[in-house]
Amino acid sequence: MDQQQRSSSGYSHSPRSPSSQPYLSVSVTDPVKLGNGVQAYISYRVITKTNLPDYQGPEKIVIRRYSDFVWLHDRLFEKYKGVFIPPLPEKSAVEKFRFSAEFIEMRRQALDVFVNRIASHQELQKSEDLKTFLQAEEETMERLRAHESSYFKKKPADLLQIFKDVQSRVSDVVLGKEKPVEESNPDYEKLKHYIFELENHLAEAQKHAYRLVKRHRELGQSLSDFGKAAKLLGACEADGLGKALTELGAKSETLSIRLQKEAHQLLMNFEEPLKDYVRAVQSIKATIAERANAFRQQCELAETMKLKEINLDKLMLTRSDRVGEAEIEYRELKEDSEEAARRFESIVRLMNEEIVRFQDQKMIDMGRAFHEFAKGQARLANNIADAWRSLLPKLEACFT
């Protein structure tokens, strides 16, 4: 996946490029089901090929599970505010139990995309946590994972839950439910509105795409049943008619298999990219919430600083002996306020870059998804036409 994505910035990802060129290439492979019953989980092999000095050897293989990826995601989200962290596939506690081959493959693919997006992101690829994720021993990861869940008092076991919290907070802010400590930036307002609306539209499209996959399966099933019934009917009949019905039945069954195959393709190459798009938008919403937080902090600190300044002046005028103390407090506050302002500006700057990158990337991603979709449908229709067409001369022969 994503050849174009990888070459967007930073390192190249082809191990075959000249060794002087820095490269970092990751793949998530080999899903294996471990454990039993409720405790069951999937483990993946994460293979890192690199010549970067900070990384071990030309190749390193580690074993990781889904919650390790979650850990990485959360760490990056904390550290790199303003960046749209690549989204993870859903936790899906229910489907996990079924662990169908399709589900496992889809998750593996999504995780592979996730890590690669991080590795090819200008900022994120420098992350220490990425290094840890790609290199650390399993025990280390286990420790970090356990530590992570206790560190955050909120215990965000479910990524979706975080998003939901953020969503409600952000919409509260957008709707003006809280004190209006909002940026008065019309362009930014437009962007927020765009992102929220976009999610709705995308979710609907994705819903229909998923249904379309189901329809393919259903049509396949009914063709199979119809084929069987035609064959049975053909068995009752003599000569020409009997043969014709049998041939029709066989053809119908063949097409049923073809349809099931296409359903799978559709799921992987069209519905999944749409779902990925939705997740990406949700990630942006999380960043929007972070920006709102940062803005609020900046405002609060600025407010507090002003108050302190006024107080200080007052104390200086009265030649109070608390002036020295107040001066130190004021200076600290000023530093904090400037720090908060810097953080906020950093987020704004990053977001502006990110949004451009996001739109470009999605243009490519969707373009590819559309292409695969159209190609798949055309191929399917042609197969169907060819199959039925090949039957016609046989039918002619049966009835003459």
Binding site: Q3, K190, E197, L198, H201, L202, E204, A205, K207, H208, A209, R211, L212, K214, R215, H216, E218, L219, S222, L223, D225, F226, K228, A229, A230, L232, L233, A235, C236, G240, L241, A244, L245, L248, Q359, D360, K362, M363, I364, M366, G367, R368, F370, H371, F373, A374, K375, Q377, A378, A381, N382, I384, A385, W388, R389, L392, P393, L395, C398, F399
Partner: protein, 570 residues
């Protein structure tokens, strides 16, 4: 390019409501509750309303009327490859179907479309062309329309209870036996029941198409208008099937029904209760010796359903003796060939029923595919509009452009699926027609059985009478000079034996006649089955090919347009 884009877009925007209506418009399930073949009636009504949903001219379902997406509908009955006689060989060369199948919408067929959903083998002249070259110019087309409420003229104690609905029955024909080439009469449902009963009496052994149900429950439960419409459709199909039957179409009963103005001059059937009452009145007379034999003319009708209770009892006794008695009945069904055919018919019916059910599932799956594809297209259209309105970056505009291509293609493909389905319904409907035909076949076989039973009963009776005569003979020979009363009784007995012999001859003749009818009908059915199923299969397959090609073309274009995004790992 732009033109077609705009056209698709405006079509879609304008008709989004219609499309949503179409999407949500489920065919109303109206089972007729026919005991004999429930699944047949269910399916028939679902399928015909499904077919109707795609007719621009079908009255009851308004969304279809106003749907511009369906308006320029190519309309061709693919059950007749002979119609496309000039294109008989073109299907061998790809990709001809996409063009072959879809002729521009023919205005002439417009007025006839109402009810053409009936795959009436009769109404389509070219159908008779393909199957009966001898009657190449015979043509009879029946239409049922214009239901109206009428009042019964007699004074009724209950006011308003004597209204009924009449239908205008129009016939167009060039058969000389009819007076005129186009005429119409008004008939009510009761008349149709009468017609059906008279035909059943007159044409025993034939595969007579079953008439529509009385549907007493439904007439109360359904909306009046809906019920009347359902009945109108059913009546039309029934009459067309009658006209399609080569023997029945020439029957007096049908001619009278279609032509004679005013009251239908066929003897009305009486209900079972009054028949039983009449029978009960006559029974004592029968038991006490007067008129104890069955009149020859009555013998040609089955005992069941008649007034002759005594005869009924006798035949019942006979059938019990057939089933449970130790001895073989005097005459048995010996025709092995017939028994084989009967068995085959049962197997055929079973598989046919299964196939028809699966056909229904297939149609539903195709329908769903079309709907979902359409919904997907609409969702993308909305997204495209949104992105274009809010676009800040060129990448957004490009993406919106790509999306629009996909959306337009999806909407087009959706339309093709729906059209495909409408045609599929018409083709696979043959399966249901034949399920209905099975009813007729059972009826014809039942005629044969009951005629045989009558013969068997009369033979048993004759045998008993002869025995009695012998005994009487033996007893009277012992008394010299003769006993006046015994001689009288002997005479009466001889008379009875003579009458019963007559009845027996008539009954045997009738039985043979019915057997012959069965035979010719079976032959006819076999021939027609070959033709009908051939049309069905060819039509179905041709249809699939044509639409698959069209759909492939639509998507190939989009694949081409987005080929820039293709990865090397294709």
């Amino acid at each position: 390019m732009m033109g077609s884009e705009n056209e698709a877009e405006s079509q879609v925007f304008a008709s989004r409501e219609e499309m949503e209506n179409l999407v949500l418009d489920e065919p109303s399930d109206n089972p007729n509750g026919n005991g004999g073949s429930k699944s047949f009636s269910d399916y028939r009504s679902v399928m015909s309303s499904l077919a109707d949903a795609h007719h621009p001219f079908s009255p009851p379902l308004t969304p279809a009327d106003s749907d511009p997406l369906l308006a320029p509908q190519p309309y061709r009955d693919l059950r007749n490859p002979s119609l496309s006689h000039d294109n008989n060989n073109s299907y061998i060369e790809p990709p001809a179907y996409a063009d072959v199948i879809f002729s521009p919408f023919d205005e002439n067929t417009g007025s006839e479309i109402n009810g053409i959903d009936s795959p009436g083998r009769s109404s389509d002249s070219s159908l008779s062309l393909s199957r009966s070259p001898s009657s190449s110019s015979d043509y009879i087309k029946i239409t049922v329309s214009n239901p109206q409420k009428e009042q019964e003229s007699s004074n009724s104690l209950v006011p308003g209870a004597s209204t009924y609905v009449t239908y205008l029955i129009t016939t167009r024909t060039n058969i000389p036996e009819f007076n005129g080439s186009e005429f119409g009469v008004r008939r009510r449902f009761k008349d149709v029941v009468t017609l059906s009963d008279r035909l059943a009496e007159a044409y025993r052994g034939f595969f007579i198409p079953p008439r529509p149900d009385k549907s007493v429950v439904e007439s109360q439960v359904m909306q009046k208008q809906e019920f009347v419409e359902q009945r109108r459709v059913a009546l039309e199909k029934y009459l067309r099937r009658l006209a399609a039957h080569p023997i029945i179409r020439n029957s007096d009963e049908l001619k009278v029904f279609l032509q004679v103005q005013g009251k239908l001059p066929l003897a009305t059937s009486t209900d079972v209760a009054s028949r039983m009452l009449d029978g009960a009145v006559n029974l004592p007379k029968q038991l006490f010796g007067e008129g104890s034999t069955v009149a020859p003319q009555d013998v040609v009708q089955p005992a069941k359903g008649g007034r002759d209770l005594l005869r009924l009892f006798k035949e019942l006794k006979q059938s019990v003796s057939n089933d449970w008695g130790g001895s073989r009945p005097p005459v048995v069904e010996e025709d092995k060939e017939f028994l084989e055919k009967k068995e085959k018919m049962n197997v055929f019916e079973l598989q046919l029923s299964n196939a028809s059910q699966q056909a229904e599932s297939l149609v539903k799956a195709q329908q769903d595919m079309g709907e979902t594809m359409g919904e997907l297209g609409l969702a993308f259209i909305k997204l495209t509009k949104f992105e274009n309105e809010e676009a800040k970056f060129e990448s957004q505009r490009v993406r919106a452009g790509d999306m629009k291509n996909v959306a337009t293609a999806a909407v087009k493909a959706s339309r093709f699926y729906r059209e495909l389905n409408a045609q599929t319904v018409k083709h696979l409907d043959t399966l249901h027609e034949y399920l209905g035909l099975m009813l007729s076949v059972h009826g014809a076989f039942a005629d044969r059985s009951s005629a045989l039973l009558t013969v068997q009963t009369l033979l048993s009776e004759l045998s008993a009478l002869h025995t009695r005569a012998e005994k009487l003979e033996a007893a009277s020979s012992k008394i010299f000079g003769g006993d006046k009363s015994r001689i009288r009784r002997m005479e009466e007995l001889k008379e009875t034996i003579r009458a019963t012999e007559n009845a027996k001859s008539v009954a045997i003749r009738e039985y043979e006649r019915i057997k012959e009818n069965n035979r010719t009908e079976l032959e006819r059915m076999e021939t027609e089955k070959q033709a009908d199923f051939s049309n069905m299969l060819k039509g179905f397959v041709l249809n699939q090919v044509g639409y698959a090609e069209k759909i492939a073309n639509v998507w190939a274009k989009v694949a081409e347009e987005t080929s820039g995004y293709a990865t090397d790992s294709a």
